[in-house]
């Protein structure tokens, strides 16, 4: 795969081979010691043993510049601005760039001192600069302004996304936002060779106000900053201005760093610092040959001195890692006001109350905070860009660039919240902002760069894709809502509808409003400041006309600032309304006053409805379910008022009287299912705490009560009616467990699926409900604030299309376990158990409504998700859970010529499980542009794909599946046609796409091959409908995995470029294209499809992998249906397991892992996910492109 890197430099491979070159740093969490002012970083090298073939880092080293000057000086050049910063040694934090090519990511571990590993990086340099501590050199690099930590500010962790520049890192990259400009410059030949990514992963220094401490070594701190190596200077200068043409686009590395827990101990340096990497793997032809002497490298470094500098600049950033990565639920996380937690976020403390307590230190966040391009917490570490595709076209190399600026990687990291990191020096900030301004153009140019799709063979970047950056000014940018929460398909909003039509791209928003956040400012205030006319909540994008008045950014009305708002409890100062937390962060939560409730907030009420017919008992789910309930009994969210109840049904409906005082639960059977009634209305829903013992007794006996039942009918409809009656007084959540087609009573269904038609290409019928009973019930439930969650565990057809309606319109969630059986299908059982646990203990909001407002001129016209649309802009959500996402489509009704920015605000009002009424407000601000080119530059291909997917689901239900498929294809054709006619001036015959949309065709093809939309492949109707439900409700990150899985090669995992989460090192292999061409019989490949993972083992797979990871002696002895990875006491097994569990932890529900053998049952499933390949019924990627081209030229 890899070609030897070209000429100028030693073979790229060389780099890989040469250990020293690799810079790998494992970011660690900075120790949290809040001690005043000093921070120590320790860097560890992960890569000490890099088996990696791919790694090439050499030239990148800033040091490589071989600066005549002392090494320290060299480094100091980084800051370009360095001079500004440099003098203040102590404050500087050395951040180490990760220069790795290596797929793995390098993490930093800041703990006192650099780790030796750094030495290796610099090796070439070292040769030039002797006597200098390698560390010192690195440290110099670190002296990036960005890194320096502001005392006052809690350090927020910053992650740089490392641009993977094939050539060199952009110097600018050193600055978090600004620096990384992908320059579109054509790749120098050399550049190819070095595809390196440098990722910065600054870790938050912890919450402490401590300043970073410079490394002990003087060289590090040397203020010499201004000094640039002669060679370097020119380049560096350019880079700073961000205009540097020669640089290739940096690849964006998005690894989001998993937020470290503050407690995390720093890792000891792994391996000998100087350890060489293992010889390059077989893949790399070059590697063997290349083991350049460090000196030679140094020479090279000289040549490319500018490169080196750039890297330097880009490199280091201190990480502040205060964030927890808990993905879930805890409210505790939210509420914690600890200073530590606050650090990760904006400077605001999470808890407003705490702030009032005075713990908060005012930091002029605006001034000090650098818009962090990357989220420190993001868990992904950079992957080397160039790794897999040494021969990439220049265009390809640029590919990743648009994402640099993205603040938060959308990677697997589930939990990352918005973060900013602060810079110590305001002057630096100013510089950076100026630079950013310049970079906009570059960035845009980059995003617009034409990619000839037919010629780009390797179009998929090896790192997760980020959302593109908008044209917003850095000040606003850094205030903006995290892309994980709120994303727009077009990061630059067109001025008029006509312009939008010209671009042929859908305009819409994707929201994940109730996502579990680790840091969320919670504000208690008697008056919540809102616009008087449009009721917008005050947000960071309003303008203060003076001390007393503010202008609404949605309707432009001028409002008064209430007296109370003048006082800033954070600083205890008066007259600074613009410093209040509401106007400092785009995501806040208010505790609502009594104005927001007419009745007392409802208690948490849970009702479980179990199918206990013969079929259900056979499947054995009841036992698991009751067990899980028992285990998590005390963790159900709620307060002292929490109530719980149970209903079971077969052909009759059974109620359970759990009234306190009874000696044992009573079962009441109602057999009149035509006219269902509630036998003892008062004692069926009981207080969880008062009747705890009875409930537990019931859960213990319930599974055994029906073991001998012969009743095969299922009266689901009547049971639901009963449940609704029971719940309608209070509202709450009904969890329905169903295992077969409802056969008696209202709402009974007939089988509509013809198994012979499963693979038809002629059109799929019965995607809509057969009866509207379930929908009506859902609407009734919604009116009474009851949500119905459906667990469907069934081997046969159960008419998901009809049953799902009960959840769709009541804002519930749907779970589907096909072929569930407690003995025959252990994988599903495990998934069910884990999912149920998450389901039971996850955060929940009751009687919620969400309103999405947007700036005057825009209007929202269609909503997607599970809810009831109560008013044209108001969604009624009986329950809200942290795992559901929403999408809306918008149109531009009035011209936006008068305004330069537009804002969107989603306000979610809900009752927490503790009985508090809360409002969570997210505000997104986007620029308005007037040219089609700008629109394309800001197109977010992932968001567009997801929005189109939800639209296609609607289309297939309301029209037909083939219509939906055609519409998807047309979306690509139209947008590419429009692009060619408006922006590009190329010949007809070439299929070009803007760089921002280069993956569009691939994603759409993947979508067409997705379960929901595929034709010609046998797909069960229920599975298809379930996939459609998922598309409508999954948040973007998870949906993208469903559509386009990630493929990794994991038989050769190394610790290089790992990220560190907690105390574990997580290897970060590059993402491969979904093509059989990437598979090799010698390897083992993991495909991550979101809810499922496939581990494909090649026939000739390394026997050590099979024995060390899978625990079998050879390939033949492996069983066909393995679904577990054993925990073995070998390094490889630990690495693999930590990687897999890291992937799993990034999502709320368990992913089953299937080990796929060539002759195994899962092979077909696995192969179907290789979307770039041709299948019997579908086009390959290349054919698809040809098809599009044909359509375009028509």
């Amino acid at each position: 795969m890899q070609q030897p890197l070209s000429t100028g430099h030693g073979a790229p491979l060389q780099n890989s081979s040469s250990a020293p070159e690799h810079h790998q740093q494992v970011p660690n969490k900075a120790p949290l010691a809040p001690t005043a002012g000093q921070y120590d970083f320790t860097y560890y090298q992960n890569d000490y043993q890099a088996p990696v073939h791919n790694i090439i880092r050499p030239s990148l080293c800033p040091t490589s510049s071989g600066s005549p000057q002392g090494p320290g000086q060299i480094y100091t050049t980084l800051p370009l601005g360095p001079s500004l910063i440099a003098p203040q040694g102590p404050n500087l934090i050395a951040a180490r760039p990760q220069l790795d090519h290596i797929p793995q990511q390098a993490g930093y571990v800041p703990s006192g001192g650099y780790y030796p590993g750094q030495v290796s990086y610099n090796v070439p340099f070292q040769s030039t600069t002797q006597g200098v501590y390698p560390h010192s050199t690195t440290s110099v690099n670190n002296a990036h302004p960005g890194f320096s930590y502001h005392h006052a500010m809690p350090v927020s962790s910053t992650q740089y996304s490392v641009p993977l520049t094939s050539q060199t890192l952009h110097p600018a990259s050193s600055q978090p936002l600004v620096g990384v400009l992908p320059s579109r410059v054509k790749p120098l030949p050399e550049t190819r060779q070095r595809h390196t990514q440098a990722s910065f992963q600054p870790y938050p220094a912890g919450n402490t106000g401590a300043a970073w401490q410079p490394l002990p070594e003087a060289s590090v701190t040397t203020p010499t900053s201004p000094i640039v190596n002669p060679t370097v200077t020119s380049s560096s200068a350019n880079s700073q201005t961000s205009t540097v043409p020669p640089l290739l686009m940096p690849h964006h590395v998005n690894q989001s760093y998993l937020p470290d827990r503050p407690n995390v101990a720093t890792l000891p340096a792994v391996g000998a610092p100087h350890a060489r990497r293992p010889p390059p793997s077989a893949h790399q032809p070059v590697s063997a040959s290349a083991s350049p002497a460090p000196a030679s490298e140094a020479q090279e470094g000289m040549h490319y001195g500018y490169v080196a500098n750039n890297q330097v600049n880009s490199a280091p950033s201190p990480l502040s890692s205060t964030s927890d990565d808990e993905d879930d639920d805890d409210e505790a996380g939210v509420d914690t006001s600890s200073s530590s937690s606050s650090s990760t976020n904006t400077s605001l403390p999470n808890n407003y109350d705490a702030l009032e307590g005075g713990s908060y230190q005012d930091s002029s966040s605006s001034a000090t905070t650098v818009p962090a391009p990357s989220d420190p917490r993001s868990s992904m570490s950079t992957k080397p860009f160039g790794y897999a595709y040494p021969t990439l076209q220049p265009a390809y190399q640029n590919v990743a660039s648009p994402s640099h600026s993205v603040r938060q990687p959308t990677g697997p990291g589930y939990s990352p919240g918005p973060q900013q990191f602060t810079r110590p020096f305001s002057s630096v900030n100013q510089l950076s902002s100026a630079m950013e301004g310049l970079t906009f153009q570059n960035r845009q140019a980059e995003a617009l760069k034409q990619v000839s799709l037919l010629q780009e063979r390797n179009i998929l970047p090896p790192v997760p894709i980020q959302s593109p950056q908008s044209n917003l000014s850095p000040e606003l940018q850094k205030l903006n809502c995290s892309p994980d929460l709120f994303r727009c398909t077009l990061m630059n909003i067109p001025q008029t509808q006509a312009l939008l039509n010209k671009a042929k791209l859908p305009l819409g928003l994707l929201l994940h409003p109730f996502r579990d956040l680790t840091h969320l400012p919670v504000i208690t205030s008697s008056t919540i400041v809102r616009c008087r006319s449009c009721r917008t909540y005050i947000n960071p994008f309003v303008s203060f006309l003076d001390q007393r008045r503010w202008k609404c950014n949605l309707c432009y009305r001028v409002n008064d600032v209430p007296e109370e708002f003048m006082y800033n409890p954070l600083t205890r100062s008066y007259g600074e309304p613009h410093k209040r937390p509401e106007v400092q962060t785009a995501t806040v939560e208010f505790i609502a006053s009594s104005d927001y409730m007419l009745r007392p907030p409802q208690p948490a009420v849970y009702l479980f409805v179990f199918d206990v017919s013969h079929n259900a008992v056979e499947s054995g789910y009841l036992n698991i379910c009751c067990q899980s309930l028992l285990e998590n009994f005390d963790k159900l969210p709620g307060d002292s008022r929490t109530r719980i109840g149970f209903i079971s049904f077969d052909s009759t409906v059974h109620f359970f009287n759990l009234q306190e005082g009874l000696s044992q639960p009573q079962m009441l059977i109602v057999s009149d299912i035509e006219d269902i009634f509630i036998p003892t209305p008062d004692s069926l829903l009981v207080n969880l705490h008062e009747s705890k013992e009875l409930v537990k007794d019931l859960l213990k006996v319930l599974p055994t009560m029906f073991t001998s039942t012969r009743e095969t009918h299922s009266a689901l409809g009547p049971a639901l009616q009963a449940a609704f009656k029971l719940m309608s007084a209070t509202g709450g959540r009904i969890s329905v467990f169903q295992t077969q087609l409802p056969s008696v009573g209202v709402g009974h269904l007939l089988s509509r699926e013809d198994p012979n038609q499963r693979s038809t290409t002629k059109g799929v019928h019965h995607l809509g409900p057969a009866t509207d009973f379930y929908k009506k019930l859902a609407l009734d439930c919604s009116g009474q604030q009851v949500a119905v969650d459906l667990f469907l565990l069934s081997g046969q057809y159960t008419d998901m299309a009809s049953l799902a309606c009960m959840s769709k319109y009541s804002a519930g969630s749907i779970f589907y376990y096909p072929s569930f059986h407690h003995i025959h299908n252990p994988a599903q059982v495990e998934k069910f158990q884990k999912d149920l646990k998450r389901y039971l203990i996850r955060k929940i909001g009751f009687e919620a409504v969400m309103r999405i407002r947007c700036t005057k001129g825009l209007s929202i016209h269609t909503f997607h998700g599970n809810f009831f649309v109560r008013s044209t802009d108001l969604l009624s959500l009986a329950n809200i859970n942290p795992d559901s996402g929403f999408a809306v489509q918008m149109s531009i009704e009035e011209s936006l010529v008068d305004t330069s920015i537009v804002c969107f605000q989603a306000a979610l009002l809900y009752t927490s499980s503790k009985g508090e009424r809360r409002i969570r407000v997210h505000t997104l601000c986007l620029p308005v542009v007037n040219s089609v080119a700008d629109i394309y530059a800001g197109a977010d291909v992932q968001a567009i794909t997801c929005l189109l997917a939800t639209m296609a689901v609607d289309r297939s239900v309301s029209s037909s599946l083939s219509d939906a498929r055609d519409a998807l294809i047309n979306a690509v054709v139209d947008s590419f046609t429009a692009y060619r006619s408006t922006v590009s001036n190329l010949q007809q015959s070439v299929l070009v796409a803007p760089n921002s949309l280069r993956l569009f065709a691939l994603y759409i093809l993947a979508l067409l091959k997705q379960q929901a939309f595929r034709t010609g492949t046998s797909t069960r109707l229920d599975e298809r409908v379930f996939a459609m439900c998922e598309i409508k409700t999954q948040p973007l990150v998870h949906l993208m995995l469903m559509i386009h899985p990630n493929l990794y090669r994991i038989d050769n995992l190394t610790d290089e470029a790992s990220i560190i989460v907690g105390d574990k090192m997580i290897p970060q292999p590059p993402i491969l294209q979904l093509s059989a061409e990437k598979l090799s019989k010698e390897g083992a490949f993991l495909m991550d499809c979101g809810s499922v993972m496939y581990l494909w083992i090649g026939k000739n797979c390394n026997s050590s992998f099979i024995s060390e990871v899978l625990g079998f002696s050879n390939y033949a002895s492996m069983p066909q249906n393995m679904t577990q990875l054993p925990e073995l006491n070998t390094t490889l097994s630990q690495r693999t397991n930590s990687f897999v569990s890291w992937l799993r932890d990034s999502r709320p529900f368990l992913s089953i892992i299937y080990v796929v053998k060539d002759d195994g049952p899962f092979k077909a499933n696995f192969l179907q996910k290789l979307v770039e390949d041709r299948t019997e019924s579908a086009l390959s990627y290349y054919e698809f492109l040809l098809h599009i081209q044909q359509q375009i030229s028509k």
Partner: protein
Amino acid sequence: MAFTFAAFCYMLSLVLCSSLICFAIWNIIAFDELRTDLRSPIDQCNPLHARERLRNIERICFLLRRLVLPEYSIHGLFCIMFLCAQEWLTLGLNIPLLFYNLWRYFHSPTDNNELMYDPATVMNDETLNYCQKEAWCKMSFYLMSFFYYLYWLMCGPQACEQTVGETRTSLPLSISIAHAPLATVVTVSWISRFLGSFRQTYLSDLVLPELIFYIEICSDSESK
């Protein structure tokens, strides 16, 4: 004017057409009612109002759906009558709408035709806009056909036996006769619009509930 079958058809159409106009007007009001929610945002968010509002939406949708079949069947009846009367031109003018109605009726997404005005989706702005536009178009179509029928009733082909001169005299006559119902219809339509723009304090709060009440009574009695 000889009282032919054709004349009878036109007469009947004239009467039924006015009812169709009423339907269309009612549709317009209903959609406007759906669109506007007068409460303050805080009230809107209140769970209690949620119930009320939901009921309201469901009720309106229910009524809309109930009116669908009568409207379509009345219009279908026109077509059959004109077919029988061999009024090809008139038939030709009505055929497109007939097909549209058929498409709309049979193309509803569910298997059971109940989704035409679906409370769960009707609140999407797009759907609402579409329905409202459709209602306005239908109203104008019915209004025009009303005049058309009136014209043919007065001086249509059945009057061809009469002399040209008589026809000429009958034309102004027909117009003057037509004036009364026409004026009524136009007035009603403008009033409804006027009121609608007033956030329909009147029609929605007074007329609509009564209408709903009335229709519900009818439907109840039917079901019993």
